[in-house]
Amino acid sequence: RRDSSRNENKKHLVLLRDGRTLIGFLRSIDQFANLVLHQTVERIHVGKKYGDIPRGIFVVRGENVVLLGEIDLEKESDTPLQQVSIEEILEEQRVEQQTRLEAEKLKVQALKDREKEVQTEEVRGSQS
């Protein structure tokens, strides 16, 4: 943790609570983990592909930060992931989100059914 403050001006990767991944130069940090990122790029990952959206300067409120890590510039290019255009990655993301929503719906329904089961059983159980 202390070393993070000596790593200014190296590229950092920040994961936010809403799932976004930001990559940029960490210019400032404080005790709440509020961050100032410079030349930030939002990277969207879907499967093995990713796309970068340049965002400029980011000031992130500390409570939204999940984790922050330094990027090894040499290893940065050494990745199996494939970079694609922004439009493409956004499309992929949309598709992925849709499938996830549908799965959620099914789960919620199943849980509701279970809940009803348990409730009726309890009443029956107490009566027996």
């Binding site: 202390r2 070393d3 000596r6 200014e8 001006n9 940090i29 404080d30 005790q31 009443v123 107490s126």
Partner: protein, 812 residues
Amino acid sequence: MLPLNPIVVILHKEPQETKARRYQRILEEHLGLQSLVFEDISYESSLEDCPLDEDEDAFQGLGEEDEEIDQFNDDTFGSGAVDDDWQEAHERLAELEEKLPAAVNEQTGNGERDEMDLLGDHEENLAERLSKMVIENELEDPAIMTAVQTRPVLQPQPGSLNSSIWDGSEVLRRIRGPLLAQEMPAVSVLEYALPQRTPQAPEDDRDLSERALPRRSTSPVIGSPPVRAVPIGTPPKQMAVPSFNQQILCPKPVHVRPPMPPRYPAPYGERMSPNQLCSVPNSSLLGHPFPPSVPPVLSPLQRAQLLGGAQLQPGRMSPSQFARVPGFVGSPLAAAMNPKLLQGRVGQMLPPAPGFRAFFSAPPPATPPPPQQHPPGPGPHLQNLRSQAPMFRPDTTHLHPQHRRLLHQRQQQNRNQHRNLNGAGDRGSHRSSHHDHLRKDPYANLMLQREKDWVSKIQMMQLQSTDPYLDDFYYQNYFEKLEKLSAAEEVQGDGPKKERTKLITPQVAKLEHTYKPVQFEGSLGKLTVSSVNNPRKMIDAVVTSRSEDDETKEKQVRDKRRKTLVIIEKTYSLLLDVEDYERRYLLSLEEERPALMEERKHKICSMYDNLRGKLPGQERPSDDHFVQIMCIRKGKRMVARILPFLSTEQAADILMTTARSLPFLIKKDAQDEVLPCLLSPFSLLVYHLPSVTVTSLLQQLMNLPQSAAAPAPSNPHLTAVLQNKFGLSLLLVVLSRGEDLQSSDPAAESTQNNQWTEVMFTATQELLRIPQAALAKPLSIPTNLVSLFSRYVDRQKLNLLETKLQLVQGIR
């Protein structure tokens, strides 16, 4: 003497002249200021002529309204009531931004002049007068005087674009002199932004109000946490603590202001929150196994006391202390607090003995940086700091030794990597390439080193804890496991290479903080002041137990379930405590151990009582309570964990109850499928049971009729048991135990033997009857079952049983 300015008024009514009051008076006398605004002001009379023309208009208007309206409202009447023209402010700021880089590189004198030009003539006069005034009043020590004059020049930033807010305030700081030692950066920005006439007011306000009561209406004395003029998040303007370099090893003290020491111990106490005050010295003690106690958290009262104690040096009443400790003047208190709170290094450092050198000279034997010498003045001392090796090791002593090892390994790897990359291991070239990189990057180093250190310091402070096992349980356990693993591996090797380091946790001893509410003198009775430490009851919530008869059945069910849940939670807490006793044992002293034992026993008993639902007057508690607990998943897991702690009889009782109601439990467990977790503790128990118990247990399990009457055509109890994984496994375990007993002790009592034989006969009959398809797959099959059955059945049936229960390994 200039006429007393009417707006400047009494801070608060004190019998003797307060320091703040004195200052106020002096200011009035010398400068004829009319804009000093303090807390609890009562605007006395109307405005009169004042030498500063520009201010007159503004404040006249204000003054006339003052008497009618609430005078305590700062926002309306004080500095907040400033006409904030943002455009003007922006222009001024922009102007400043351009001028700052130039100012930064100049000498102190020039810098001063520049700054003053920016802010107008008033500022110049004011600044000069203020600095003169302050110096003459406060700084008696010749050493301090010399220090004040030798101010280091700010190091030019790597790029002029780097002028950040912090830079500007730095420069401003230099002009203001020691007076502004306590200003915070946020204030400086405001100074520039405010229109010309009022900047003086807020500045001075804040300067002096730092020493006087804080701006808000609650004073720290009354028990609420000390209030800061600026939000807690802002880093200090000056280098906070250059000496605490175990963690904050700063090789570049250029930002440190020598005038800081003159404030000793005031700046130290003022700049850092009381928490930091206590904790930072403590953090320097992290290198030691059991550092003397400096609690990281104090109640605000103690903080106030600490500040007062720390600052009550003979003959060194700086106004800063005064603000915080109006009620605690008195060296007896300081003496009392000092040994108690300032033990260890802090105590050595802030002794009644005059020596801020001690303050700086905290040499921790455990850590590498060279101990700072006792310099004659702060200047040379700072140069000492500067000459420290740039290579510093972070303080990792609070980490688990394994963790530390891993970190160092990683560091080594990185260093090696870098060396390899740069060839011939020249760090110089590495550094130069690094600098090149920085030079090209104009936005680099927006954060000053001291700011980074400050943030790190805060983060480190958060790691301190009085009880690491409590605060950081998983971390500790994880590394313990790692260590055990490596130790286990090493045992097979040549022998332990790394000595098994016993974990020495940097514990901060807990101090009892008994909060005593403040008592006002002269008041009749006790006034209750509500604060963070003494919260007032807002809602009077009374629990009313329902006794209506017309409750619906569902509600009753729900209530019962809730009660069970509560019991489970309570028992779980007991369980966690009991599990923790072993560790506490190791840490406790000899005398305490019997008491711990007693406590543990007591807790175990209460756990058992909770489980069985002990009701006085009933010789045998009903099973219902226990069954209810077992219906809940958490309850089952809890029982599994509790079993090892119970005595054999108690545990046997639990087991019997379970066996009795097993079909019901099986039914309830259909969704959770948690019962198998009980198998292991039950098996362990069974292998300790005597044969009588085993026999009755078997009977219970199979729900066999006591007498040898004709068996019922179907045995739903047994069927249920056999169809369940847990049930079948348990049954097999019991059978196995019985066999063990039989084979090991053939000359056992005949009655027992007979009973057992009878039971076995009926058992085997039942087993033969059950179709194989209905059987569950047991978790484990004991090996001696074949020999067991061979006693009671003939060959044919034995084979049948074997195949049915899959007793022979090959079939599986």
